[in-house]
Symmetry: C2
Subunit: 327 residues, 2 copies
């Protein structure tokens, strides 16, 4: 099997290193890591099991040269990784190209025990940042969403030790009803609802977690919170090796629908997590994934009431001994 990869995490998975300008070619028994002169020095130190090649100003041209001299006939590529423009340059070759969408993510859908250990550390550190942030929140009345977002970023980064999995969401009151709210100048009040969705990277693997801190005196918030939490718990209990991912989604969705809030659960129940923050399996109504041992994914139902508030509850889970365990 011959294949070419372009994605930074796809390449890292193969050889333990990558850069923002690199190609990885796997041809029969030879692997090549092609990058430009800015990265060849570090690549030679860190790339495992592949030859480092300086592709100079044109990595795709270098890849074509290597492919030509290897005299292969078929090459797999991921049409989601290549722009029309770059693929046109790559495909100036007298060989046949096989399109495999999500090629690398499919390889990565089952995590090794080593990867699971790294992910456990990422989740542990992410949860630690959440509990630190909770303490800070108590003394932050009057701070803006923008400031709170900045504080959460720094809490996750722990003086530059970790990168973020994604820009965190810290959304107050009505803004929490926007599942991907951008931070505004809105201020934290004494009785504000606060939705926090955030994660960090440990050894390049992502964590992902959401908590919503409600005003416990507000009966509607408490009611919605309980429904969302129940949807999460039912999905968690149901998730095991052998079930369809779409049925996990259905399980969570049914809890919310039964309470009459079905149309306010406007996203999927979850997604795989690994080197990418969104990986396989997809936990959605249309997913064709079947759950297997050592898969890692989120369970994150939510209810969003425009103009009022939104509540989401999210954990990452791993399938071990055929059951879903919270990480």
């Amino acid at each position: 099997m011959n294949y070419i990869l372009k994605g930074e995490n796809a390449i890292y998975y193969e050889c333990g290193f990558s850069s923002d300008n690199a190609l990885f070619l796997s041809l029969e028994n030879y692997n090549f890591f092609i990058t430009d002169s800015r990265y060849t020095y570090e690549a030679k130190l860190y790339v495992k099991d592949a030859q480092v090649v300086d592709g100079e100003k044109d990595l795709v041209k270098k890849a074509r040269e290597i492919i030509r001299s290897a005299k292969i006939k078929k090459l797999i590529y991921d049409p989601m990784e290549w722009s029309v423009d770059e693929y046109e340059k790559l495909s100036k070759l007298n060989i046949s190209f096989t399109k495999k969408p999500n090629f690398s993510q499919k390889k990565r859908i089952i995590k090794s025990d080593l990867e699971i250990n790294i992910i456990k550390s990422a989740v542990f550190l992410g949860a630690k940042a959440f509990s630190e942030f909770e303490t800070i929140l108590k003394n932050s009345i009057g701070k803006s969403e923008k400031e709170l977002n900045f504080i959460m970023q720094n809490t996750l980064k722990d003086f530059g030790k970790y990168d973020l999995s994604f820009d965190p969401i810290v959304a107050l009151d009505e803004n929490s009803a926007l599942p991907h709210a951008l931070p505004t100048d809105k201020l934290l009040k004494n009785d504000s609802l606060v939705l926090v969705d955030a994660g960090l990277k440990y050894k390049r693997y992502c964590s992902d977690r959401t908590r919503t801190y409600i005003n416990k005196k507000d009966k509607k918030q408490q009611k919605i919170y309980d429904i969302v939490k129940k949807a999460h718990d039912e999905a968690l209990k149901f998730a095991k090796a052998g079930v369809k991912a779409s049925d996990i989604d259905k399980k969570a969705r049914e809890v919310i629908e039964k309470e009459g809030y079905g149309k306010f659960f406007i996203h999927s129940t979850g997604h795989g997590v690994g080197l990418d923050i969104h990986e396989l399996p997809v936990i959605s109504p249309k997913s064709d994934n079947v759950i297997e041992e050592n898969m890692v994914f989120t369970i994150e139902p939510g209810i969003y009431l425009e103009g009022e508030f939104g509540i989401r509850y999210e954990n990452m889970v791993v399938i071990k001994n055929s059951k879903a365990e919270i990480l």
Copy 2:
């Protein structure tokens, strides 16, 4: 002229808003901003001069529907913006597609005076962060590159007010010889050379600046610094409306070559800056851009001595009254 855009900044330029999942369609006199339900609420508040359309789970399908009902015959797209996979879905239409690489960046190559004012503010705030960081550096002996990088990020962000143009580079001693060094645990010493390349975004427009703080007692460092600075100054003096971008690169390169360090200047002399950190014009040996009034770009020659140190000096300039002015 009918066109479709996919890039976040390309879309922002057209209508003053964008999201990480959006398409922009400009058909004769009708403009459409297509996004998913997570963003339609904000889009309706902020999008100017375009109709907001909820593309639900499949924005490309929605774009096809709009294109079909508009009965147009030709559509411009940028083959660098579209993956093979997505373009295949878009092109299921009985119309002709015209490929225009860098379509949006070409529209954006000449900045308006309003854009230049915003960029001036970005550069001013970026330079302010540099001078604050210089003060901090003096009391940072023993801190690691990772910590210094984190401090520079926070200095730029100013308590969450600004986003970064890119992850800053703070490279010490030998690491500065890697033009895109990743931060390590290497510690700042009393006599360390420190290379800092960083920028922030103000109203979405980027700043970009590099300074190298040398050990002034080290004669070799001082000599290389002077050559790099001279290359910068000569390129700046030469840059004006009507000259070829490639000749600006040549001017800087000649200074460095004359001193025998030509092969250690391993990148281009500069690049345009705007909504994207890398835009047109390209200031490189192969560039076909010609400099015009109101273009904004960097001048950033460098010399990199592997195992020793690297020195780069970078400013952003604007062409005004046909001359290059440092911003």
